[in-house]
Symmetry: C2
Subunit: 227 residues, 2 copies
DNA sequence: CAGGGTGCTTGCGCTGCATCAAGGGGTGAG
DNA sequence: CTCACCCCTTGATGCAGCGCAAGCACCCTG
């Protein structure tokens, strides 16, 4: 089913698949259904029963959440070569988070039954899943630390630093509102902070692309430019 | 080593041990070292190599975190019959979070080597660990949702509701500063909110103990009493 | 019992961020 | 080409929660 994609290369490139070992990786890929999602496409609806694990090959996917009073937020932004909905597949039951494409994306959908079946046969997949979950736990923990004890401007700077490519560029294909939600602030605040960073000479804004002349200055000077 | 504690009863009471099955549970208990920690005792130091998994039998333990600029916060408060440091033990390497007793506590310390050795032999322990990690992921995700889109007063109300015992009482053995840090606010704000809830008739404060006359009113009326 | 320490509370001014409300600018459709 | 829509921006205002600092209750020690 996946002949159209170079399966071995894919398995090598994707951290989770390579950690699971060649046997489990090829079994997973055999069961996987590739598909594309345009921007804003709903991939998974909250409160539904999770019946698949997803691997993101290219693009950007947002894990959305709904507060008790109906307000919406974004738990996390998933990048290429990451996977999502694993806790849901492991625990079963219903799942309170939704998933939506924030940029044109290519994904693999691995049915939960296949995932569980392969896990029973291949303990290396279970171990890889365990490591994966531990890493994702750490990711949320880091985010929680940031939310609890840093200001909005610092969170923006850190977010940009984390997306910095070797060329000194930051790609932001997803809408500003999504990034703002992920960072726990309003789009207005995000806009103000980013233009503040530009005024401080730390970044240069060019539409969806952001240039960072000095990476160190961005990390270190973020606190100062709180204004 | 654990004859002093009723091992079978313990395995049955602790969700993680019972999920791991009787064989793995008894193997884990055989390797476990019980110990007590007075309030404020440091159980694990951040930036150290994690060499054990901990089960909390009684008391309260805080997972502390340090921000980039040295400020301190509390990632999570661990309650009885929960375990902590599992992601650290799984991933190895150093670990950015510390653990400290917030109330007099009894714990079990399971050396990482023993944990890994038993996991290799007993796949049920690996599966139980995977579920455990997924649940802990969900716990952090819920907290992140709260941090991102609810106000401090609501977070306090929800925290109290989550600790509500059948008798309408909430035990708060840990210092207020720790609870405030866990909720992402200052001790002053926590104090103000709680006294605000008391003024609204939703709770009755009695030192370390809190009485909740009407549980439903607490959940539903929290938004209104934001003032 | 006095003394000092620790932890909780309260008051007050301030600031960061949300909220509400317009104003641009780029992109796609007709 | 031009309109219209969407998304991003910018401004003005209000409030929630922080920081600082003082007051008070409890606990442990000598």
């Amino acid at each position: 089913m996946l002949e159209l994609i170079a399966a071995p290369a894919l398995a090598a490139a994707h951290p989770f698949l390579s950690a699971a070992g060649p046997a489990a990786a090829s079994a997973l890929l055999a069961a996987a259904e590739p598909f594309s999602a345009p921007r804003r496409a709903v991939i998974f609806t909250p409160e539904a029963a999770p019946e698949a694990l997803y691997l993101l090959l290219e693009g950007s996917v947002g894990l959305s959440m709904r507060g008790a009073d109906g307000t919406r937020g974004l738990l996390e932004i998933i990048g290429p070569n990451e996977c999502f909905l694993m806790p849901a597949v492991i625990l079963g039951g219903t799942w309170p988070f939704g998933a939506e494409a924030l940029a044109p994306s290519r994904l693999l959908r691995i049915p939960a039954e296949a995932f569980h079946a392969i896990m029973v046969q291949d303990s290396r997949l279970t171990e890889a899943s365990l490591s994966q979950m531990a890493r994702q736990w750490q990711g949320l923990a880091d985010q929680l630390v940031e939310m609890k004890l840093t200001k909005a401007s610092e969170r923006v700077a850190h977010f940009l630093a984390g997306r910095l490519m070797p060329g000194g560029r930051v790609a932001m294909p997803e809408p500003r509102a999504a990034i703002a939600a992920r960072l726990g602030m309003t789009p207005e605040s995000l806009s103000r902070v980013m233009h503040g960073l530009q005024a401080a000479g730390l970044v240069r804004l060019q539409g969806r692309r952001v240039d960072v002349p000095d990476a160190k200055a961005l990390s270190h000077g973020a606190r100062a430019s709180g204004h």
